[in-house]
């Protein structure tokens, strides 16, 4: 028992010493002097002052006459009445001031729990919150543009003091804990932003798309070919089929050309030529989709109109397919080339030693070995083709038709863009539902991609 106690005490000291190695010189000074006890109280004082400040008149709204609004009122009331008009307080303002309240309480709680990092972070957020609120206030006039009233918002002293005390709280928390750990915390929260945005987008797409689907009925929505918003008919089968057909066609044309080009780069061309072609293919990837669309509109569409007999309009599924095939080329070429290069050299050597011709070696040995990588390139290309909007809109003709090679079509993506500006009500909701369908397609493609690329890795 005694032995156990000794070790635990030793461990305790050891840990303390380890931590001590990390803290700044500043903290050593603080530890030695009596200032530490003062520093340990400061955050409480800061939070208390901020909470009191919120009960002051935070902002003055000038709408016909001037009146001040308390901080707490800004958080808990949606807006205020002026005559018959309701002036809604901007959401950003409410979020900002609410953040001050929430995080000043959280700051104390974290400090009591000795989670100094989180406390420091809370106080930093308090510093930012009034700025967010100010941003919201400056946009208040947008929200009451219908009523024709002019709103002027002026700020009072609390805002400066909130920032000041937030800063002091943050500073003390940092000094108690050390800058290093705070930096870790900040980097981690930055990394978390992309996670948050992905989940927000997913949630948003589902939440905004689901109501229309449930109102229209999933069968009516997905499996009927009658897109007539003016008659309240929302069947998107034609768009889904067109999207699938366009992507399929682009893959049929683009993938063989892409794979062959990649083979040319790795095995047929000299170093100089392959460098030139590689660079130009990479340039092809960077060209904006609008430029592709412009090119398609003036060259491909006109060519189809001239070359095909009895064709009155050039805008067609064929034009979409050609443009999409060009657009997925760079992805396919780059990924295929990399996966061919990753095939170990002794595969080729063994095959050549068995007496195959170089061409046979590539097509019978190397390509099958690089199969997984090539497939993931194809899937990336599919993802790009399904999601492409602006290039397609310029060459597709945009009439809702079941896909036929020389007929005009409207894809899922272009369906959203074309009617977004003037739609409302169920029509708009159904556009969001289209984006949900598109999102589901993309997620399936993504999952396939990660499945196949993972399988490729585990095989190696």
């Amino acid at each position: 028992m005694i032995f156990f106690k000794f070790t635990s005490i030793y461990n305790l000291f050891y840990k303390v010493r380890l931590k001590g190695a990390n803290v700044s010189v500043m903290e050593n000074i603080i530890n030695k002097s009596k200032t530490k006890s003062i520093m340990l109280i400061t955050p409480y004082i800061c939070s208390a002052i901020i909470l009191v400040l919120l009960s002051f008149k935070y902002a003055f709204y000038t709408i016909e006459k001037t009146f001040g609004v308390l901080g707490y009122n800004l958080i808990f009331s949606k807006g205020f009445l002026i005559g018959d008009n309701i002036v809604y307080i901007n959401l950003l303002t409410r979020l900002g001031i609410g953040g001050c309240l929430l995080f000043s309480i959280l700051g104390i709680i974290f400090f009591i729990c000795k989670k100094y990092l989180l406390a420091g972070l809370s106080y930093i957020i308090i510093c930012i919150c009034p700025l967010i609120a100010m941003l919201g206030d400056s946009l208040t006039d947008v929200s009451i543009v219908d009523t024709g009233l002019e709103v002027k918002v002026t700020y009072m002293f609390p805002i400066a003091f909130i920032i000041l005390f937030g800063f002091i709280g943050a500073l003390t928390s940092v000094l108690v804990m050390g800058v290093e750990t705070l930096a870790t915390c900040i980097f981690k929260s930055l990394a978390f932003i992309s996670v948050i945005s992905v989940f927000t987008i997913m949630l948003y797409v589902i939440v905004s798309g689901a109501p229309a689907i449930s109102k229209i009925g999933i069968v009516n929505f997905l499996f009927y070919d009658n897109w007539k918003p003016s008659l309240e008919q929302y069947g998107i089968l034609a768009m889904i089929c067109s999207s699938v057909a366009a992507t399929f066609g682009a893959v049929i044309i683009g993938v063989p050309i892409g794979i062959f080009t990649a083979i040319f780069l790795t095995d047929f061309a000299g170093k100089g030529i392959s460098n030139i072609i590689r660079t130009s293919v990479q340039l092809l990837a960077g060209i904006p989709s609008v430029v592709y669309g412009f090119f398609g509109m003036l060259v491909v569409v006109r060519a189809i109109k001239k070359l095909v007999p009895n064709q009155k309009v050039g805008d067609s599924l064929l034009a979409v397919i050609i443009i999409l095939a060009i657009m997925i080329l760079p992805t396919v070429v780059t990924v295929t080339e990399n996966s061919i290069k990753a095939v170990p050299n002794y595969y080729r050597e063994a095959a050549l030693a068995l007496g195959t011709t170089p061409t046979q070696t590539i097509f019978r040995v190397v390509i099958p070995a690089a199969k997984n990588g090539i497939l993931s390139g194809v899937i990336l290309g599919i993802g790009r083709a399904i999601g492409e909007t602006m290039a397609v809109i310029m060459v597709a003709g945009n009439v809702v038709n079941m896909p036929s090679l020389l007929g005009t079509v409207r894809l899922l993506t272009t369906g959203i863009v074309l009617e977004m500006s003037y739609s409302s009500g169920l029509h708009r909701q159904s556009l969001f539902a289209i984006s949900l369908v598109l999102f589901v397609f993309i997620m399936i493609v993504n999952m396939l991609f990660s499945f196949i690329s993972r399988r490729g890795v585990s095989k190696d």
Binding site: L91, L190, P288, V291, F295, I326, S435
Partner: protein, 295 residues
Amino acid sequence: MKKNESKGIIMNKKRVSIYDIILQFGVYFSAALTVFVLSCLIIYVLYNGLPYISFDFLISKYSENDESQKGILPMLINTLYIVVITLLISLPIGIGSAIYMSQYARQGRFIKLVRMATEVLSGIPSIIFGLFGYTVFCGLFKLGTSIIAGCLTMTICILPLIIRTTEESLNSVPSSYKEGAIALGTTKLKVIFDIILPCALPGVITAIILAIGRIVGESAALLYTSGMSYTMPKGFFKHIFSSGRTLTLHLYQSAKQANTPDAFHIAFATASVLLILILLFNFLAKVFSNVFRRE
């Protein structure tokens, strides 16, 4: 015997099947086609567009009705605004998360989550970002169709690109640098800011240039967030909250509305400006990544 043998070998080499010939033809044909299409696209646009690019075209205002005002200055300014503000927002986030991913995090659930998030983000089509920005930034936050709403949308768009490229360049800094510095008694933060980031700087710059290229070329995400207005900025900061079309959207609009040869000239000239900018950025990115690789 010897003669026969050598003949046999030669015979064997010449015994190429039709299958082989077809495949070889396919390979050469495809490579030629790829190069042909690319050069066709670039030459077609530049050949038709370059004659109409003049200094006047670059610095004069635009008006839909006035024939004398067909310049692209407002679009250039809007594009610049969007590029700068988007980078200001996304660089700290992107580089910060790349630092966390490469220097702090251990392999675990959180890293997997962030990886998955960036992968999913990079796969989402830009029109969905556009819709998201339109409802959330323009609608919910009451920003309206404005440049700042476009910038926030673009921030989410280019985040995966910045994170991935920066992380790669941070990871490629030899760990001996880091270990040496830590052995000398520096703190981790100092190692990151004084040693790893400067060493990875060309990679980070490549990431920035690629991001600029992506922003300049983006159209679907900006169509409903930053809007189509072509007025000149009324105030330096006020312009951030007003709508403005970028070069890509201008090309889209002018190509869609064009019905006279004159109108197509504007579209061609805009497309050439856009193409030259993009090619320039890609070229710069390549130069910087080459510099990085050599080091």
